[in-house]
């Protein structure tokens, strides 16, 4: 099938491309439909990227999640480490002409855990907030329960809505557009479920006149259809370019492709706690003690995996090899952690040293519809581990039910994808490796790590936070509780004349599309 798609695109390259007349109108096709237009209903990227057109946050994340001024012009912890002061921008108006003040900030953070009929998943970003104190119209004091260095990063993901919305308003009032007024660059015009949403420029935008007069975002689920829509000129830009089409589109002189590393890390979780693992037996099928509890076996796995091969062969070059939680340029990246060197001989020696020279039988699990090439990754890992004597059976399944099984610890070695929601390492290792947390699927425990990560997340001294976080990453990676393989790369394609700045949070935003 993939080869066929390539041929098709190849054929299409020779076809003439209709080039629309230059207008300040932009049509974008993205892959995933939103589940709600309510900006605070669910922390899903498909919802959030739409909300970002209409709403702002106090702090706006840049391409790599770095905090930059948004509705707040400045912020800093006060002398009391539990209180942060935010100075708000003056003269900002909501689309319905009401002024933006501190009241709206307090209201929004109160609404976050209380959105009616919703999972309210933004709650995690505000749960450290004890109370929001309105000092004056343009000053807010946010009290946290414990000293919290991630407050700016956490709040950068939470859109501010007008207090006139009211706490009881049902999310459907946002879907029909009634409550869809924010302070953002674009005003809502029309929403047709499953088809498109349109926006028009907010000429009074505090950040200057928006780049486009009219923006239409369409949902085209099927990858080849998205590519066809771009090639036929029906849309100006597409998100989530299918990996198989990236190379072909890149060669097309009418198309611009821009790819960049995202904050999504792919790793293998290992059951390092139980005495007997569910999916490991001796080669003859008899019960053996869980070999993954032995550091040497984990180290052997770590170097038996050829990351370059995964990136080049499985991911067709559209990934970046990973040796830790976040890549270069992201928070918590520790440059002192070495990239594990692929070495079968050394891996075999480690296995023999641990007493598993003859290997064992292992079943690994992966999704087959959630991450880019997830099933192929699992096959590749299976082959790589078989070279050090492990008989691997690969089981893949749809994501429905996958994470449920993981949480019940029914898998021994499983593929996991995780986007660092704050763009720094603690938002992954915090919930994934700390003692006793729900997403610590392998139940790894390490007191030194817990001390470091808790220290990092318990200070507002940003230098100390940074140092402790990097140390905690190093301590974790040295014990190989998980095996990171690569960071996912996301690609966008547009007609020439347009240039998109890729964002590590994978959001497709009209304001990031420039005319060249």
């Amino acid at each position: 099938m993939n080869r066929f798609k390539q041929t098709l695109v190849g054929v299409a390259l020779f076809g003439t491309l209709s080039s629309p007349i230059w207008a300040a109108d932009l049509t974008i096709a993205v892959a995933t439909e939103p589940r709600s237009l309510h900006p605070l209903a669910q922390a899903l990227n498909s919802n959030h990227e739409l909300a970002k057109h209409v709403f702002n946050s106090l702090i706006e994340p840049d391409e790599k999640f770095g905090p930059t001024p948004g509705l707040a012009e400045s912020w800093s912890p006060t002398d009391d480490p539990l209180i942060w002061e935010f100075k708000l921008r003056k003269g900002v108006k909501f689309h319905n002409d009401t002024p933006f003040t501190a009241k709206d900030v307090a209201f929004s953070y109160e609404l976050v855990p209380n959105v009616p009929n919703s999972p309210s998943t933004y709650k995690r970003r505000t749960k450290k907030i004890a109370k929001v104190v309105v000092v004056d119209d343009h000053t807010v004091h946010i009290h946290t329960k414990t000293p919290y260095p991630l407050l700016p990063r956490s709040l950068s993901a939470v859109p501010i809505v007008s207090h006139t919305v009211g706490l009881e308003t049902d999310p459907s009032e946002f879907n029909n557009g009634k409550m869809l007024y924010g302070t953002g660059p674009y005003k809502f015009v029309e929403f047709v479920a499953g088809d498109h949403i349109t926006y028009t420029a907010n000429k009074d935008y505090w950040g200057g006149t928006p780049k486009w007069d009219n923006v239409t975002i369409r949902w085209i689920t099927s990858g080849p259809a998205r590519v066809a829509a771009l090639l036929s000129g029906d849309v100006d830009m597409i998100a989530s370019v299918p990996t198989t089409d990236v190379a072909n589109l890149d060669e097309n002189s009418d198309i611009n492709v821009s790819c960049d590393q995202t904050a999504r890390i792919m790793y293998w979780s290992l059951d390092v706690s139980r005495e007997y693992a569910d999916h490991i037996t001796a080669k003859d099928g008899s019960k053996i003690k869980n070999p993954l509890r032995d550091l040497r076996v984990r180290q052997a796995f770590n170097i038996a995996i050829d990351r370059d091969a995964i990136v080049d062969e499985v991911m067709t070059g559209l990934a970046v090899p990973a040796n830790q939680i976040t890549g270069e340029g992201f928070g918590g990246h520790n440059p002192n952690i070495p990239m594990p060197e692929h070495d079968i001989g050394k891996a075999k020696a480690l296995m023999a040293e641990a007493g598993y020279g003859d290997g064992f039988k292992l079943t690994i699990h992966a999704t087959n519809d959630r991450y880019i090439n997830d099933d192929k990754q699992a096959q590749a890992i299976g082959q790589m581990l078989s070279r050090i004597g492990v008989d691997v059976e690969v089981v893949t399944q749809p994501v429905s039910g996958y994470y449920g099984k993981l949480r019940k610890h029914e898998m021994t070695m499983a593929l996991i994808g995780w986007a660092a929601m704050t763009g720094e390492a603690s938002s992954v290792i915090g919930p994934a490796l700390r003692k006793g947390v729900r997403n610590n699927y392998g139940r790894w425990e390490n007191p030194e790590f817990n001390r470091l990560i808790e220290g990092a997340l318990g200070t507002v001294d940003m230098e100390k936070y940074d140092r402790l976080l990097k140390e905690s990453v190093a301590v974790a990676m040295a014990d190989v509780p998980i095996i990171p393989t690569h960071y996912q790369v996301a690609c966008w394609a547009s007609r020439t004349g347009l240039e998109f700045t890729p964002r590590a949070d994978e959001s497709t935003l009209a304001e990031y599309v420039n005319k060249k």
Partner: protein, 327 residues
Amino acid sequence: MTLYILRRLLQSIGVIFVVTALVFVGIYVIGNPVDILVSTEADQDQFERMVKILGLDKPLWEQFLIYLSKLVQGDLGRSFAFSEPALKLVLQRMPATIELVTVAMLMALIVGIPLGMYAGLHPERTASKTIMGASIVGVSIPNFWQGIMLIFVLAVSLAWLPSGGRGEIKTVMGITTSLWTADGWSHIITPAINLALAQCTLIIRLIRANVREIALLDYVKFARAKGLRRKRIVYVHIFKNTLVILITVVGLQFGNLIAYSVVTETIFSWPGMGKLIIDSVYILDRPVILAYLVIVVLLFITINLIVDLLYSVIDPRIRLDSDKHSS
């Protein structure tokens, strides 16, 4: 007559009950919808809160009973994912699907009937053999591939028609559809062809076989012997008698297309029910799956009812009220 319709309605209630029970058990076996709905960021608190909001903390039989008691009152529940009434979500997207299927079916009939008649009346001619040969193509090419090919030829290479989407919608005489606008028509043609091809093949083959069979029957021979004009024999004696089987099949296929136009809708990003149901199955959105199935069951029953009524109009020998015989 009334009795007949009532009996049909009772049947459909039975079907809805069975379908609902199957979906409840099926989703229960696959996993907990909350695992997928709540993002990986969520902590245990949020997880449990969500389970409670959705009523998934109760035992399965209790959830089922609650659902049934609400169903009786016409409340099909709220979508887990969209937090909107499930019925509203499905009905919102139904017109797009019905519109697409109707156009596709009409295309198939307009092309299929004449070709099928021709091939049936003149089975030995080269043209007939060409029709039959070509019609195989319609069924043997996978729907998905066909759709992509259509897009690349009509939208990308020739740039005649748009590559997907529904186009401009207008409301005239209380009916909201894209068929009122030229833009709407330009959008519907490609996906409709994609859906129509297989149906067209079916109709051609069906009519041809039927015509050949009927042409040999006594009353046709008699009509010819009586010296009736050929036109009259073809249109009245032969064609009218193929209608019974044609209506049966078209009725069934119409229901099928509405329920299973998923592939076409996905490729052409047609905002119909098919796309919604696929997404809902993926995230185990039980209320939407159920609302969809209830609607589809009702649609099937209605279509079958219409087909049955049409029978008695076309063929007076077929009677609906079998009261005098056994029921």
